[in-house]
């Protein structure tokens, strides 16, 4: 049955596997079990997937209840194509390590940039209030 044709409604997406991108940059993959009018989501058998370069790692998280306002986007995962990815899955420890290394590198380069700008008398506004992703 077609709920509200011509509109974007999550009702048709229930009980399907989804990938949800949150405002803080996390990527969650889980079965969408329940929604409400604010697009708050209940994800079942959720996995947080961390991507670093060509590798990714999955951390099982269980049940997630996500407040609607924190969702950037979400989309249904085609189960057939799911395994069709050039990315390589690695263990959790490894991916966390990779992530840490990446973060460090990023911070180092950021620091250099800020330093360089400071030397030239420019300043970059702090991105505290902006969403990281």
């Amino acid at each position: 049955m077609n709920y509200m044709p011509g509109t974007a409604s999550l009702i048709q997406d229930i009980d399907k596997k989804h990938l949800v991108l949150l405002r803080d940059g996390r990527t969650l993959i889980g079965y969408l079990r329940s929604i409400d009018q604010f697009a708050n989501l209940v994800l079942h058998q959720t996995v947080e997937r961390i991507h670093v370069g060509k590798k990714y790692g999955d951390i099982p998280r269980g049940i997630f209840v996500v407040r609607g306002e924190n969702v950037v986007l979400l989309g249904e995962i085609d189960l057939e194509k799911e395994s069709d990815t050039p990315l390589q899955q690695v263990s959790i420890e490894e991916i966390l390590e990779e992530q840490r290394v990446e973060q460090q590198a990023k911070q180092a380069s950021e620091k250099l940039k800020v330093q360089a700008l400071k030397e030239r008398g420019l300043s970059v506004p702090r991105a505290d209030t902006l969403d990281e992703y």
């Binding site: 044709p5 009018q37 099982p60 049940i63 057939e80």
Partner: protein
């Protein structure tokens, strides 16, 4: 107490008055505290309970297999439960079924460590008995308030997550309760909330405010029905007032049936009742939209969007029942009939029955359902899920578009239950609830105003679909249309509130009655002070304002067609008159309103044409203008084309005028065309001017050249079609053509712009005036 003790023996008026006052106060007490507060011996009941508590506390023993850390709720709960059961048993309930439920309280513990005592706790039972108690034994109902504090963890654990935590009322206070909102805020109610709007009572009975019936049944975990099935049994506490008494005996039976722990056999009559109940309930769910137009059914009945239950019952009912339903509810039979007739309308007759139909008579043991969630997917589960998805997809592919869901859905449903045991955690009712909210957000009094782009988009789609239909007789792709509820526009005139007998007026400012904060006064500047720049700027601003005003008029005029279709016969002449007037106004705005003088200057028009928006405005206006007026505009454009071209160098918007211009050209007589060419080419020229700058500019510009070609083509058309002698006598045209061709020949090819389109009859046009050699030359140039 003090009130009751107040002596009313004396017959003095004062005391009598006091007595009456007391009665009023008693009434208020009832309202505030409930019927049991003042009259009943709640104190005694409370003491009794306290005694039991002490006894239980002293004789406490740890529950066997339950771990200490996990089972905070175990002991005090059990003790309380015991007390309650004793109390309950002591009173009138003698139904053996209930007795059984009480005794079968102790389930074997689950292996795997899950503490199932939350399900078995008699706190559940206690609450299950709630409404029964509320209705039959007010004294016991107060126990809920008088109960000692439960540990908060227990509360969290045993609460069904989707339950709303509103306190239960034992009886209905008439006044003083918050009115029930049309849309329940927050999570959907456990049972569909049926606010009965047309009832005159300010506060509806509490039955629908809080779900007192619990969905859990004390049963061993393994044998329990899956969440889907449990939740599908609707609550009988939804009875309410609108239902005639004939229904209630059956429902009390239901209540009792629901109290049975694992005895699901008795739920079958509940199951059978439920479709009607469900539908009846949801029929009333539909009532919050009293102004929803039954016209929604028109035209699209077959494809009607009909989510199960809720909407269907409402849409399906003929227009008469909803308003008349509530004051005099039809008997349950007739209502059922109503609903049974609905399936003929909707495409999914059994869909709403689905949830109820899936109530099995026997529970299904599903040991693999429960396992700790440490892996993403149990491999077996994953396999099953994958299979199901594939099947779903196959189903989808076999039927087109949205139809896929419908066909495959039913047959898949059973498999779904088997393969994805967590499916349908969100009930159909809850889905409908969310849809209902979303639909309510789409309510609008004037969709063309509120949602212009969506309406237009869909109109375009429909036109396309209709066009396709006409051409090809292929399978008609069903495009279900979203029917948004349309609310009639109500005219509200706001009157600021006034109190009688008060001195002066209220100085309350609200959104409807705003207070003037700033006194903005328009001051016009004197001419002397301004500099040249300012003058130019002001003039430009004036032009911009004119453009905006004209645009509003234009939008109105464009809208008249639609309004015409929607309006009544009598109103139409008035509409036409308005439209004409507006068009006149538009033209005046365009050419510079100067009713007294002749329109000698193109200045105003030029100003508008210098602005990008102005050009687009003119392009849109042209179809509405009368032919003479349109020709006038065309002439003005042609006359000043070089100037416009220069100004348009950055924007390059002129080509947008080509199409409306060509439309105008089709209606022009030759004379006009001739003068047009004259204007365009600025011929004949005086011999003194060596180069025709005007024409050069025109030829070197895309728009100019295209326009020239169009005009020439039109001329040729006229000439070839109309062999009237008048044409032959028209020397002017011939002369012009000769000159034009001469110029064209003279100009090097590189300088010519690339026109938008080259009309085909140009060659034949030129062939009249030049010889073959030159013709070939011209051809290469084009």
């Amino acid at each position: 107490q003090s009130l009751e003790d107040c002596p009313l023996d004396e017959d003095e008026d004062a005391f009598q008055a006091l007595g009456e006052e007391d009665e009023d106060i008693d009434q208020f007490n009832d309202d505030t505290f409930g019927a049991g507060a003042v009259d009943d011996d709640w104190q005694e009941a409370h003491e009794r309970l306290a005694e039991l508590e002490d006894k239980a506390g002293s004789s406490r023993e740890p529950d066997g297999p339950v771990g200490n850390d996990g089972d905070v709720l175990g002991d005090p709960e059990d003790a309380l439960a015991e007390r309650l059961t004793r109390l309950v048993i002591d009173s009138e309930l003698e139904d053996p079924a209930i007795m059984q439920a009480v005794h079968t309280r102790d389930p074997p513990q689950q292996p795997g460590g899950l503490n199932s005592s939350i399900w078995d706790s008699s706190a559940v039972l206690r609450r299950i008995r709630g409404p029964l108690l509320a209705q039959e034994m007010p004294s016991v109902s107060v126990l809920d308030y008088a109960l000692p504090q439960r540990p908060p963890q227990a509360r969290d654990e045993e609460r069904d997550p989707s339950e709303r935590a509103l306190p239960r009322r034992s009886s209905s206070p008439i006044i003083g309760s918050p009115p029930v909102r049309a849309v329940p805020i927050g999570t959907p109610p456990k049972q569909a909330a049926i606010p009965n709007f047309n009832q005159q009572i300010l506060c509806p009975k509490p039955v629908h405010i809080r779900a007192t019936m619990q969905q859990r049944y004390p049963a061993p975990y393994g044998e329990r029905m899956s969440p889907n099935q449990l939740c599908n049994v609707p609550n009988s506490s939804l009875l309410g007032h609108p239902f005639p008494h004939s229904v209630s005996p059956v429902l009390t039976h239901l209540q009792r049936a629901q109290l049975l722990g694992g005895a699901q056999v008795k739920l079958l009559p509940a199951g059978r009742m439920s479709p009607s109940q469900f539908a009846r309930v949801s029929g009333l769910v539909g009532s919050p939209l009293p102004s929803v137009n039954p016209k929604l059914l028109q035209g699209r009945v077959g494809q009607m969007m009909s989510p199960a239950g809720g909407f269907r019952a409402f849409f399906g009912a003929p227009p008469a029942p909803p308003p008349s339903q509530l004051p005099h509810p039809p008997g349950p039979g007739s209502h059922l009939q109503n609903l049974r007739s609905v399936p003929s309308l909707s495409q999914h007759p059994s869909h709403s029955l689905h949830p109820s139909l899936t109530i099995p008579a026997l529970p299904r043991p599903q040991p693999q359902m429960f396992r700790p969630d440490t892996t993403h997917l149990h491999p077996q589960h994953r396999r099953l899920l994958h299979q199901r998805q594939q099947q779903n997809r196959n189903q989808h592919r076999s039927l087109n578009g949205s139809g896929g869901d419908r066909g495959g859905h039913r047959s898949n449903h059973q498999e779904q239950i088997r393969k994805d045991p967590y499916a349908n955690l969100m009930l159909q009712r809850e889905k409908d609830w969310v849809s209902k909210i979303q639909m309510m957000q789409l309510q609008s009094t004037d969709p063309y105003l509120d949602d212009y782009y969506y309406q237009n988009y869909f109109q375009k789609l429909e036109k396309l679909a209709a066009a396709e239909e006409v051409h090809g007789d292929g399978p008609k792709k069903e495009r279900t249309k979203l029917i948004t509820p349309q609310v009639a526009k109500l005219e509200h005139t706001y009157k600021p509130v006034q109190f009688e007998g008060s001195l002066g007026k209220l100085t309350v400012s609200s959104v409807n009655n705003p207070r003037k904060m700033i006194d903005a006064v328009v001051t016009s500047r004197s001419e002397d002070d301004e500099t040249r720049e300012k003058q130019v700027r002001d003039k430009r601003r004036q032009t911009l304002v004119t453009i905006e005003k004209t645009y509003s008029l234009l939008l109105d005029v464009e809208d008249y067609e639609r309004r015409y279709l929607l309006s009544l016969e009598g109103e139409r002449p008035a509409l036409m008159g308005e439209r004409k007037q507006k068009i006149c106004d538009i033209y005046d705005n365009l050419r510079g309103k100067a009713p007294g003088q002749d329109r000698l200057s193109d200045d105003h028009f030029m100003q508008i044409m210098c602005i990008r928006k102005g050009k687009r405005l003119v392009a849109r206006i042209l179809p509405f203008l009368a032919p003479e007026q349109a020709a006038d505009v065309l002439m003005a454009t042609a006359r000043n084309l070089p100037f416009l071209i220069k100004k348009d160098a950055q924007d390059e918007v002129l080509p947008c005028l080509l199409r409306p211009f060509s439309h105008v050209l089709y209606h022009l007589p030759l004379g006009t065309v001739t003068s047009l060419v004259q204007q365009l080419t600025n011929l004949p020229q005086s011999a003194a001017a060596p180069t025709n700058l005007h024409l050069t500019a025109v030829l070197q510009n895309k728009f100019g050249l295209s326009l020239l070609y169009l005009v020439l083509s039109r001329g040729e058309e006229l000439q070839s079609s109309d062999t009237n002698t008048e044409l032959m006598q028209d020397n002017q045209w011939t002369e012009l053509m000769l000159m034009a061709t001469r110029e064209l020949l003279r100009i090097p090819q590189g300088a010519l712009a690339k026109p938008v389109s080259i009309p085909s009859n140009l060659i034949s046009l030129f062939s009249r005036y030049v010889d073959q050699q030159k013709l070939n030359l011209l051809e290469t140039k084009l």
